[in-house]
């Protein structure tokens, strides 16, 4: 087995990975009960659209905090901590390059998010089906999984980027949480206030378009954009190409910049 696959395997079987998966599954299953309650009162059996809406409203509040935190802390545990503490050096002295080590860790953590979110939403879907007789539609399922996976990978990529410059674990964690504070909790409000200040007399469509684009600068908002696409909201602004483009940018750009820095810096 080559070093890349070996490192990948190690992340999949790491204790933090297992904690992520277990926690996400438990929380999602608990939220799924909430979904069952809300859709049971409606028409029976409920449509997959109402399951999707119910599921999104149940998990969105909790996931808005949990998913970015997973992104931040797994990047910290599987890369940043080792880099700032010097543990990574003991590995780099082995037959592996800095670039390969970076890739195996980043891909390992990214795949972990996708697996954990898929498993959690999948099990929640089965639970909801047991009580309501309806599943999420394929597009609804994919929309939730892809939306939140991009959020986690986006935050993780930003943390890998911070790790290239942070000199200590404290700085890294502090920067990550600061980033979550700004991009996760206040970005929408900040952008809204900015637009009100500078585009006070713009048309509703123009205002809304620019607001959505500005919101997409934060990975936290990707799941909402995905939701707009699924529900067909803001059709003149949001289409598959734009949503895919934003997703690809969030998955690739921070990771690519971090990768280039990781392989060329001491």
């Amino acid at each position: 087995m080559n070093s890349f696959l070996y490192d990948l395997k190690r992340i999949f079987t790491g204790s933090f990975t297992i904690i992520i998966i277990v926690l996400l599954v438990i929380v999602t299953m608990m939220e799924a009960y909430g979904t069952v309650g809300s859709v049971n009162s409606a028409v029976s059996p409920p449509s997959s659209t109402s399951i999707y809406t119910g599921m999104q409203s149940s998990i969105s509040g909790f996931y808005a905090l949990l998913i970015p935190l997973f992104g931040i802390f797994s990047a910290y545990f599987y890369y940043g901590k080792d880099k700032t503490s010097g543990i990574l050096e003991s590995i780099i002295s082995k037959p592996v390059t800095k670039g390969r080590l970076f890739l195996s860790r980043f891909l390992g953590t990214s795949l972990t998010f996708v697996m954990a979110i898929t498993l959690a939403i999948g099990l929640a879907d089965i639970l909801i089906y047991k009580y309501t007789g309806s599943f999420l539609s394929d597009t609804g399922f994919l929309s939730i999984v892809i939306g939140y996976s991009v959020v986690a990978i986006g935050y993780s990529g930003l943390m890998y980027l911070i790790a290239q410059f942070a000199k200590s674990s404290d700085i890294m964690i502090g920067s990550g949480l600061g980033l979550l504070f700004i991009l996760g909790f206040f970005w929408g409000i900040l952008m809204y206030l900015l637009l009100i200040r500078f585009l006070e007399h713009a048309s509703f469509i123009k205002f809304q378009s620019i607001l959505i684009y500005l919101n997409s600068i934060s990975p936290s908002n990707y799941s909402t954009i995905m939701e707009y696409l699924k529900e067909g909201s803001y059709k003149s602004i949001i289409n598959v190409g734009i949503v895919a483009g934003i997703g690809i940018i969030w998955i690739l750009v921070p990771a690519f910049i971090s990768f280039m820095l990781a392989r060329s810096r001491d």
Binding site: M1, R10, S15, G86, S93, K94
Partner: protein, 302 residues
């Protein structure tokens, strides 16, 4: 073989290494001595591929450590000054992980790890978390980790620091065994008497430049005051009084250094016998012309 050619390293505007040229041949131990901040660790970290040189080349068995990192790293083992490993992992599982980078299968890695952990006397702690290891055990483990891929070249960065006398002796024996097996060993140390005991050559570095390379055959002809180092197991306060009979004696850990203008190599056996007759267990006795330390300090201070 490690071939260092015109290697320089700058950290911002600070030049940490300036045009270093050095070759460590197979079956040779080269000591690396210098004051703190002289550039020893920087040089060793560059040779191990952890940091990049600003200019110059390092070839490990003919493979460039920057351009052919994967191949070059297969042939070199790095033993850091302050071993830093994943604290919550056991030594056995970490060794299997490291072995994976060399393409060693898990089963073979277990066999190899057992052999090395036993050789370095930490087999009993194989399932302990590394956070529970003492510094001496961590150093031993870092040597095992460097040896897991059976490389031809070794870098020891201040490995002797912080080891007890038994640990120092074990390290010395291990390096001599490596030499006997045709390995190239590059050892930086502050303990100049140890370098003097085992190194075939000693490179002295000052402000990032190698200012002198001393051959083993020249070590006893450095001029100045001759000295004899004697290591005693059951030393006590009376040892200095006894040794003062032969010359001015100083003590550093368990090693006593006797200096006198008329000391000769023959005096080593006389002193050895004298101490044994007085009921002391002598671990080692070695003669040096001018004490290397004196020579070294004169060199780096000028």
């Amino acid at each position: 073989m490690i071939d260092i050619a015109k290697v320089s390293k700058n950290f911002g505007k600070t030049a940490a290494l300036k045009n270093i040229d050095l070759k460590i041949n197979n079956g040779e131990i080269v000591g690396f001595a210098g004051l703190n901040g002289a550039g020893k660790s920087t040089a060793i970290r560059i040779i191990s591929g952890i940091i990049f040189p600003s200019s110059g080349n390092i070839a490990i068995n003919g493979h460039d450590i920057v351009r052919e990192k994967m191949e070059a790293s297969k042939h070199i083992g790095w033993v850091p000054e302050s071993p830093n490993f994943e604290p919550e992992t056991s030594s056995l599982s970490l060794l299997k992980y490291y072995a994976g980078f060399y393409g060693i299968k898990s089963k073979d890695a277990e066999i190899k790890a057992e052999e090395l952990l036993k050789k370095l006397n930490i087999w009993d702690a194989r399932n302990k978390r590394l956070s529970n290891y003492s510094m001496g055990m961590k150093k031993r483990f870092s040597i095992v980790a460097a040896m897991i891929g059976d490389p031809d070249n070794y870098l020891f960065d201040e490995t002797l620091n912080g080891l007890d006398p038994q640990g120092v002796k074990d390290m010395r024996d291990l390096m001599l065994e490596m030499k006997k097996n045709g390995k190239a060993v590059f050892l930086s140390s502050h303990i100049l008497s140890e370098l003097q005991n085992i190194a075939d050559r000693i490179a002295i570095i000052k402000n990032g430049e190698i200012i002198k390379i001393i051959d083993r055959k020249d070590l006893s002809n450095l001029g100045g005051t001759p000295s004899i180092n004697i290591k005693i197991k059951n030393s006590d306060n009376n040892v200095i009084n006894l040794l003062n009979k032969f010359g001015e004696t100083t003590k550093n850990d368990n090693i006593y250094t006797i200096k006198a203008p008329d000391l000769s190599e023959d005096d080593s056996s006389k002193i050895n016998k004298y101490m044994i007759d007085n009921g002391y267990d002598v671990i080692s006795v070695s003669y040096a012309g001018e004490e290397l330390e004196e020579y070294f300090l004169n060199l780096v201070r000028n």
